[in-house]
């Protein structure tokens, strides 16, 4: 129940295309869903996050879509650029437990071809 399942494992998109990464969870107690971006040789960094009281959050070219009933959430990268090539991790946590412990998905390696 603590798992977050992420797909696909890898993704190749042409420049200007839309990248879509999906995650699913089982634990309905999760109340915070961040996405982290990791470039080679670096640590992950927060990209965008959502709480389940909204169905969508947009920041620039990055959008999280959240489906509470299906227990799924996804990251959409519009107008994908070569600089977006990185590994993306979805995650989930139970904020009200006040430990900020994150459960991470297995990651998606995105390659945006010029």
């Amino acid at each position: 129940q603590q798992q977050v399942k992420q797909s696909p494992q890898s993704l190749i998109v042409q420049k200007g295309g839309i990248s879509i990464i999906n995650c699913a969870y089982e634990n309905t107690a999760f109340d915070y869903f961040p996405w982290y971006q990791q470039f080679p040789g670096k640590g992950p960094a927060l990209l965008i996050a959502i709480r389940p009281d909204v169905s969508e959050k947009k920041e620039g070219r990055f959008t999280i879509s959240f489906n509470k009933s299906a227990k799924q959430f996804s990251l959409h990268i519009m107008d994908s650029q070569p600089g977006d090539s990185a590994t993306y991790f979805c995650a989930a946590s139970i904020e009200r437990r006040a430990t900020n412990k994150l459960i991470f998905g297995t990651g998606t390696l995105l390659a945006v071809q010029p």
Binding site: P34, G41, K42, G43, A98, N100, K101, L102, G107
Partner: protein
């Protein structure tokens, strides 16, 4: 601001050796974490701490120990290194949200090989 600093960046250990991975943060964050990252497996939480003197096990604590004597430092100790501990280790810190977004700030990682 340096953020979260991890040392060393790379290390090769022989089976049975021990070592300490260092982590320090200068953001006055109460919460600190150690993760390991293996290919195709995402990040797994090893140990975490919600303040100086307080630590707790994460998902994969076996073979590791931690201590938290100061707010800034959170070292991870490997005793009797095994090949299964070959991984990339990340330290992270965060501030209790108090209603704000929870953000974990990660170091650049330590790549460890046990041969």
């Amino acid at each position: 601001n340096a953020g979260v600093t991890q040392t060393p960046k790379f290390r090769i250990l022989k089976i049975g050796q021990s070592m300490t991975l260092q982590c320090t943060q200068d953001m006055n964050h109460n919460y600190m974490y150690w993760y390991r990252q293996d290919p195709g497996m995402g990040l797994k939480l090893i140990y975490y701490s919600v303040g100086a003197g307080i630590t707790d096990k994460g998902e994969v604590p076996n073979g590791y120990n931690v201590s938290r004597s100061t707010t800034e430092d959170f070292p991870l100790r490997l005793e009797l290194a095994a090949p299964s501990q070959t991984s990339v280790y990340f330290c992270a810190s965060s501030y209790p949200s108090g209603g704000r977004w929870d953000i974990q700030y990660f170091g650049a990682g330590t790549r460890l090989s046990v041969l």
